[in-house]
């Protein structure tokens, strides 16, 4: 049919990508630069403020080397990394973070799934879960230490209590906010029970869930750092242990170095979650194309 072919021709116009007059390499370079310059600027700003703070010499401590400039601290960070103790501490802390976060995921998903499926449970526990989220994690430590002693378990206990509620909440919210229109489409298709969850409710709630995972990570990382400052296990180097001993020795440079490491790990992991979140929303057309 002639109209038929004409129609395919029209539709196919939209299939071919519109290429602009820019080479691949140039576009990549432009993208890379667009991604890096804000970060570079942020670093420069922080260093500048720090340097000004140092120059202001507000406590008159500069001579005692209690306050040090970036030029003195950054070599210290490099040395610590070379020495190996810092790397070992990073390893310990990251291992705890991964374990604790993993446990949070398991508990959060199980609790979230149960609560969202069973209405009476929902009514009973909804406010408890939100309440748990507002509890400062440091307030759990006395209880954790009574229960588990000064051990890794105590730290993991607090991480789970701090971050599992975010996971559970995200799961419940994701299920709750499945668009009713899609639910009705699913019903017409005959999706029921487990299939309804697998093909409709869970994929639909993925963006909310990833946002919850990101929030849970932030809580987990904070709980971990608080935990490592409070619960110190003899003979095990962790970021918290290093911070504590640097504080005891009034070692400004080493303290700042460890803090920089903590900050960078937090930022990098957060960045990974943001990337995942953006990728998911982009796939679903939830981002404004004018902004991407």
């Amino acid at each position: 049919m002639a109209t038929d072919q004409a129609l395919h021709g029209l539709d196919n116009l939209e299939l071919s990508d519109v290429t602009r007059g820019e080479s691949r390499a140039a576009r990549l370079a432009r993208k890379a630069w667009a991604a890096t310059w804000p970060k570079l600027l942020a670093i420069v700003l922080v260093l500048a403020v720090w340097q000004l703070f140092y120059l202001s010499n507000f406590r008159g401590d500069t001579a005692d080397h209690l306050l040090q400039s970036p030029a003195e601290v950054l070599p210290n960070l490099w040395q610590q990394l070379e020495h190996g103790l810092l790397l070992q501490a990073i390893g310990t802390s990251m291992e705890r973070a991964v374990d604790g976060y993993g446990l949070s995921l398991v508990f959060g998903i199980v609790i979230g799934a149960l609560v969202s499926r069973i209405p009476p449970l929902r009514a009973a526990t909804g406010s408890i879960i939100t309440g748990l989220q507002t509890m400062p994690s440091i307030a759990w430590f006395p209880l954790a230490i009574i229960l588990f002693g000064g051990s890794t378990e105590a730290i993991l206990f607090v991480i789970v209590l701090g971050s599992a509620p975010s996971i559970a909440n995200a799961m419940i919210a994701g299920v709750d906010y499945t668009p009713p229109m899609l639910l009705r489409a699913g019903k017409v298709m005959g999706l029921r029970g487990l299939a309804l969850y697998r093909y409709l409710i869970l994929p639909s709630s993925l963006p909310t869930f990833v946002a919850g995972m990101k929030q849970a990570w932030a809580f987990a990382w904070r709980s971990l750092m608080a935990g490592e400052l409070i619960v110190q296990i003899p003979g095990v180097a962790s970021l918290g242990v290093l911070l504590n001993s640097d504080q005891d020795q009034l070692d400004f440079a080493s303290t700042i170095s460890v803090m920089i490491v903590i900050l960078i790990i937090g930022i990098v992991v957060d960045g990974l979650f943001t990337k995942a979140d953006l990728a998911i929303r982009n796939r679903r057309g939830l981002l404004d194309p004018a902004l991407t």
Binding site: A185, M189, G285
Partner: protein, 283 residues
């Protein structure tokens, strides 16, 4: 009542205030009684929605029966309860009073919005409907390809809904509704966002599929010509609350075209009737 000069178009009007009594009762169309048992039967169906300040009556005592294999088009003013009616037939909602019977037939609904799953590609959306029906994998793939071709979207299977135009999304939704292989297909303004050329092609496809599968169709549209082009019968609903105020059987002499004189003539009569109804409500 008006009768066309050829006498081929027989009109049935149910105006209560009309001088002549209606020839047939709503829901008891000559066509559905004589030719086939009803696939869908609505008896005195009313639907009221609870709103903040009370109740809103969307449908008022609607009786309608649709014969097996019959193609019934529904027209009526915006907000008169057409989508509500389809939701009730699909079992997505329950009537406030009255009964809806579909005799255990499989009912498929194509919504007014495409309602595609945004995380799935066009092809996967269609495939999911097949999967829910239990079609094996290889057959799913073939059927999906076939359905995409039917709605003229052969090259767009791997696009996600947000990458498609409004009319393309409607067509994917149509393919998905067809994938359900229902006995009764409900379509809510399925071709509203299409250009005339694509729409005409899809009219032909729909007609072909209906004949192939003996589909029973309830088809909502605002386009009077489209209703006459496709329907065996056109049902006119009053403004809210929706009520059946007229039924127009459409005689069939072989294939019809939307721009034929026959279609235009009945469409003109229908448009007058609709205009009269809307005028009554001061639209």
């Amino acid at each position: 009542m008006s009768v066309s000069d050829t006498g081929a178009v027989r009109l049935t009007d149910h105006r209560t205030q009309g001088a002549t009594p209606p020839a047939t009762q709503p829901g008891a169309s000559a066509l559905s009684d004589e030719k086939s048992p009803p696939a869908v039967r609505l008896t005195d169906v009313s639907k009221a929605y609870r709103t903040g300040r009370g109740e809103l009556l969307a449908l008022d005592c609607v009786s309608l029966s649709v014969g097996t294999g019959e193609f019934v088009c529904i027209i009526g003013a915006s907000g008169c309860g057409k989508s509500t009616l389809l939701n009730l037939v699909a079992g997505l909602d329950r009537p406030t009073s009255g009964t809806v019977e579909t005799g255990g037939r499989r009912v498929g609904l194509m919504f007014q919005e495409p309602a595609l799953f945004p995380w799935l590609t066009a092809a996967r959306n269609i495939e999911l409907a097949l999967r829910a029906r239990g079609v094996p994998r290889q057959a799913r793939r073939d059927l999906t390809r076939e359905l995409l071709l039917t709605v003229r979207l052969g090259g767009f299977g791997d696009k996600r809904p947000h990458e498609l135009s409004g009319g393309m999304r409607q067509r994917v939704a149509m393919a998905r509704a067809l994938a359900l292989d229902a006995d009764v297909l409900l379509m809510d303004e399925p071709f509203g966002a299409l250009d005339a050329m694509t729409r005409d092609l899809l009219h032909d496809e729909l007609e072909r599929i209906c004949a192939e599968r003996t589909l029973t169709v309830l088809f909502v549209t605002h386009n009077v010509r489209e209703a006459v082009r496709l329907g065996d019968r056109v049902v006119v609903l009053s403004s809210r609350p929706g009520k059946v105020i007229a039924e127009y059987p459409v005689p069939r002499h072989g294939p019809r075209r939307i721009d034929s004189a026959e279609v235009a003539q009945l469409a003109a009569t229908l448009t007058d009737r609709l205009r009269e109804e809307m005028g009554r409500h001061g639209h």
